[in-house]
Symmetry: C2
Subunit: 409 residues, 2 copies
């Protein structure tokens, strides 16, 4: 039997305007084509150190412990939680969308005693509500999503660090959906741990998770340190309450990234190159300029869909810059319309999870695609698609409204 | 303060002839530069299914549950162990090098009761020794490395499946270092689980872990199934002894790769492209032809180093095809000589771990680099380097011996 061998990969042309993953910056794709080097090559260790420094600037932190976890964004979440939470410790998770449920789920699997508070989807929490829950629960950690793509909401974090410090609580946030396109200040906001992924505003592929850890977080991790058998020296630490994962043990991952360069995993070199390029692009354009570009594109997309007569879901004042959820109009088949956008225009938009599945479309403007032509093309294609499915739109209204915000090219 | 922004990544030219990672095939690097698509794009799901089918052929299996774990090779190890081992269950790990210790370590962190047997580094186990230990320990799982790069040994697996089946033991192997360059027969050898990485004989970058699971393994995983909060329907399973990791819960990962396409992580698209290309290249050249090419290159390298007067470490009859460990000659500073190979010739060779650190060099001939010019260039550079450090080699002896095996080009 001769099996049929396919050819080299040849993806169709796509403009990814959903909630992520989004189209990567061309130079990020190019970076992954760069030749490999050995894991202890001076170029490799220098590139790791350089990437750490670039991400310190992206996170706005002086944290020495700023690095990558080799996996998708939820690998970073699990690494932070399993390394920072001792079994039986209490974790408070304010849930305002699907990814809050994920944090609770990961904490539960890490054998934490998980307490959640919930708010309606489309809303965020007032700091006082979180503080009240902290007083009641007395958690070891507050774990909260910054931007929950399932609802598009952006939870304000600026006041939470002080509250956590006052109550002796570790403060962790998942900034996967928000980092790069919305303000983020790891040090000024008093964060102990923050994790992300490349596939949203950072403009890269999924598969590498930037993470930053405060000195306090590193102290917790160090107190649980155990170096694995096979490479452990006699005087190396071997804590009794060691982390119940080898792959996600940040103590060992820090030793791999740190001056000791102790072997753990083999760093995913091509993903390192990608992560480096994502950060490099942000800093070359300017961190504030990239956030402003996301805000402009987001405002334009919002104005466009509103001008087309679509209803926007949730508290728009607390929306992330980089994604908007619009109610699917009565009578329009949501999935068929999304499929038509993909087939006829090569444009991907998303639906959502749980209570919002089939009720909203999520339209993103992230990373490379937070740009004028991507916004206007999407609005034009959406107008055409809505018309095809019987929802009449004033011709050109969406593009005109967005153009007004974007200004002339 | 204006921070200095570095330029695009520009790695130095390297011929990676160590124990891995090794230089990737050019078309694998090219594949990662292909544009991204959305995670539920028909092209994406078709590419995932196609990649599964390609890896069934690489593993030589009919297992439906053949897929990728998004992380480095040890992510695949941990996913297999944490999903298949219930806390408190016994796991038997025969250790013949550093990566046996790793399996024991990962099993211990997965809260197994771990039993090890050891043999001297440089040796492998007779099946009877393993069966005796199985009779004594009565484990739920036998976990054994196929090729342990730390010693270069290749543990014969062909007889172990029958032994495991007889005693009702799950049979798992880590084939990271061996798959693609040495015979591997998942079904014929009765394996329940096997995991690998791309960065050895498969000729890709680290960061994606191919895995295959027998029906029996899938039954164990299914019996522990719990779908995470936030996307769980009322009638979805929610087992009490759920897997103590979200990221590595193969039950959920199988639902993501399977027909239900239930969201878990966001598949690392560029690494998927790379993994697909690694498998595609093997099948296009022919699985047996690729193994034969590794065997030829390995024999040539072995003959070359022997002809140069170097001692080879371990039981050569059980050496993997793709790597050889040579004793560093008395008086030659091992690390300085390796550094000179890198600086003067751009060639990387490795040292080893634990008792072999600083005692041997490990020279690999894997994937793209299992080829005539890579072998001969390495031998010529090694001869020159040894001479520089005072170890006299008969001029041209290594290259001549290797050439004899390789034949004329």
């Amino acid at each position: 039997m001769t099996a049929l061998i396919p050819g080299e990969i040849a993806p169709p042309a796509r403009l990814l305007m959903g909630p992520g993953p989004i189209s990567a910056y061309p130079s990020v794709l190019r970076a992954m084509g760069a030749p490999l080097v050995g894991q202890y090559d001076p170029f490799m260790t220098a590139t790791m150190a350089e990437t750490q420094e670039l991400y310190r600037q992206v996170w706005s932190t002086a944290n020495e412990a700023t690095l990558l976890v080799d996996g998708t964004s939820r690998a970073g979440i699990e690494a932070a939680m399993v390394s920072l939470i001792r079994p039986g410790e209490r974790v408070l998770v304010p849930v305002f969308g699907r990814f809050g449920h994920l944090l609770a789920e990961v904490a539960e699997r890490a054998m934490a005693e998980v307490h959640t508070i919930e708010t309606a989807w489309g809303q965020v929490f007032a700091p006082s509500v979180i503080e009240e829950a902290i007083r009641r629960v007395k958690p070891a950690m507050l774990a909260i999503v910054q931007g929950d793509t399932s609802t598009t909401m952006n939870q304000p974090l600026a006041e939470l660090g002080e509250i956590c410090a006052k109550h002796g609580v570790l403060f962790y946030t998942d900034a996967t959906a928000s980092l790069g396109g919305n303000p983020f200040e790891a040090d000024a906001w008093g964060l102990d741990a923050a994790t992300a992924g490349l596939q949203k505003c950072l403009g890269g592929p999924s598969g590498s998770s930037p993470i930053t850890l405060s000195e306090r977080a590193v102290e917790v991790i160090t107190s649980r340190k155990r170096i694995e058998a096979g490479i452990r020296d006699e005087d190396d630490p071997d804590a009794a309450d060691f982390v119940r994962s080898n792959y996600f043990d940040l103590g060992m991952i820090l030793d791999y990234w740190g001056p000791r360069r102790l072997n753990h995993h083999t760093e995913a070199t091509s993903m390192l190159y990608a992560a480096r390029e994502c950060a490099r692009l942000i800093l070359a354009e300017g961190r504030e300029a990239v956030i402003a570009r996301h805000q402009l594109a987001g405002r334009a997309m919002l104005a466009g869909v509103v001008a087309m007569g679509l209803e926007v879901f949730g508290d728009v004042a607390h929306k992330m810059s980089n994604v908007v959820a619009v109610e699917i109009p009565e009578g329009v088949p949501g999935d068929a319309a999304r499929a038509a956008m993909l087939t006829d225009y090569g444009i991907e938009i998303g639906t959502s999870f749980g209570p919002l599945h089939g009720r909203v479309w999520r339209i993103g403007t992230m990373g490379y695609n937070a740009r004028r032509d991507a916004v206007l093309t999407t609005l034009a294609a959406l107008e055409s698609t809505l018309g095809r499915f019987g929802f009449a739109v004033a011709p050109g209204a969406g593009v005109a409204a967005a153009s007004e915000i974007l200004g002339q090219a």
